[in-house]
Symmetry: C2
Subunit: 331 residues, 2 copies
Amino acid sequence: MNVAVDAMGGDHAPEMVVQGAVEAVSELGIDIILVGHEKKIAKALNTRPAHGHISFHHCEDVVEMDESPLKALRKKKDASIKVAFDLVKDGHADAVISAGNSGATLAAGVLSLGRMKGIERPAIASIVPTEKGRVILIDAGANVDCRPAQLFQFGVMAQAFACSFLGMTDPKVGLLNIGEEEGKGNEQVRLAHELFERSELNFVGNVEGRDIPMGDVDIVVCDGFVGNVVLKLIEGNVEAMGRVIERDLMSSFFGRVALALARKPINGFKRKLDYEEHGGAPLLGINGVGVICHGSSSAKAIKNAISMAVQYVNNMVLEKMSLQLKASKIG
Amino acid sequence: MNVAVDAMGGDHAPEMVVQGAVEAVSELGIDIILVGHEKKIAKALNTRPAHGHISFHHCEDVVEMDESPLKALRKKKDASIKVAFDLVKDGHADAVISAGNSGATLAAGVLSLGRMKGIERPAIASIVPTEKGRVILIDAGANVDCRPAQLFQFGVMAQAFACSFLGMTDPKVGLLNIGEEEGKGNEQVRLAHELFERSELNFVGNVEGRDIPMGDVDIVVCDGFVGNVVLKLIEGNVEAMGRVIERDLMSSFFGRVALALARKPINGFKRKLDYEEHGGAPLLGINGVGVICHGSSSAKAIKNAISMAVQYVNNMVLEKMSLQLKASKIG
């Protein structure tokens, strides 16, 4: 197994990315190709013990976080994220992970590997912790506007991913809307509702914002604008609530005692909601394996994302998804 | 002051609505007209002490929660929410509050009282608690699709509301998007960004989902689909996290002790995030005062919403908003 890691992508690249890659090699026994500016990577790697399973692939360019993905990829032919996906195309690597510009990761994946049969738009599937377990949120930010058929395709891909990667059986699929009743929402969602209802998915109908953290469904489908807002709002909520609770408790003597006693369960709770633990978010719908990491990923988050990519390949998620698309008369 | 209360609207109507109205009369020294089916209201009122400041206005119909607002209002000429707004139109009442179908409340408000000059679409402004205080989320669910000019109008109305009702000075306005950089998001948001930038509002640019609970801005503008998802997601997050923390703490001895010691600050925290405390959400952009309550409103939430309507009238928010719209060359 050989994973191409975009060493230049992310707020803490290349240092944290390289460190995560080193940890992944030790833990998972795989090979890694660090794609990016060799000198910068070597500098980041120098402080760590040498490792036979890590190789370089030099390239000059990187797509910055604030660049327009398509424009940047057109201009920078040698961008690390594009080169990483080309390594998969040419059979030198089995998967790509990147903490860089997620729009560029999506675009580079499509340009190099193409879309799966029947999929108009690949999407980002994010695994979000809930009260009862976890829910797959799709699309978490790849496509700002979506046609109803595309939303339906997201649901089918997420269903295949849920079964083949997370081991779910007949996962419940909900469509994110602003009311549970049929006929609610905008035209896009109303038409998507019809497509889901006619399908063989375990479609439970419309779900609302409050149903996501409750965890009564396994898959929540929405466009990438809404999905991205949802994902970042959950992140912010957890952080803000944590700080407010802590501040409130610290303001009283009994509160401080309580906080000292409850440190272990509270840390366990934080861990449960920590995106670092869940690694990255897979890009569903391209002809290959790509995992997108949070821009501010730590070494641990990078390592977990690499681990996700490895499991993705080992579980043959791509092949199973392709079969599912055919069965749903999409692929 | 005379407030028309839609006694038939909400999951616990008319009981909870009537009880909230009775409490509001005692506390606020105002007059209330209960609009709805007289027999049903009288039954709910019977168990409570008689009150000279409460009167009835009988009507036969009610728009149910799952009805299409416009269709229902066309069919049910005598619907309580429409009759309530007509009481304002005819000078018998100063404001309307309803916990019923929010789409119907909006539509009835527009039909009876009309839109403010320059406003294409009225919007729901929801006051959301944050780490640092509170933020006004507009639109919280009235309009599923919005043109850029409409998003800009929401911002101007919310600014006037923030100053004249919440006493804010030069509130910071953010546009909800999926990235902070200019040029991010869909076309609707990109064009709205230009309108805000050219305006005299204190526009801080794009904000992301995570910025809402942090509370670094005072006003967050988005379309009603996204706003409604955000509002309900925050509600669900608070509930789910509260339960998870409690469950985790209860599973250990020290956790149970901690929970007992921390009961007071935890309850204080819950109260801060409780929508009941904040009353309802005002409908901005109609020629009159309308406050929308949560469908599952308790008596306390109804009372607080009535109190909000009273302050709204007393502070002459409508008049000040109208001046602000003129100053922004909208009205």
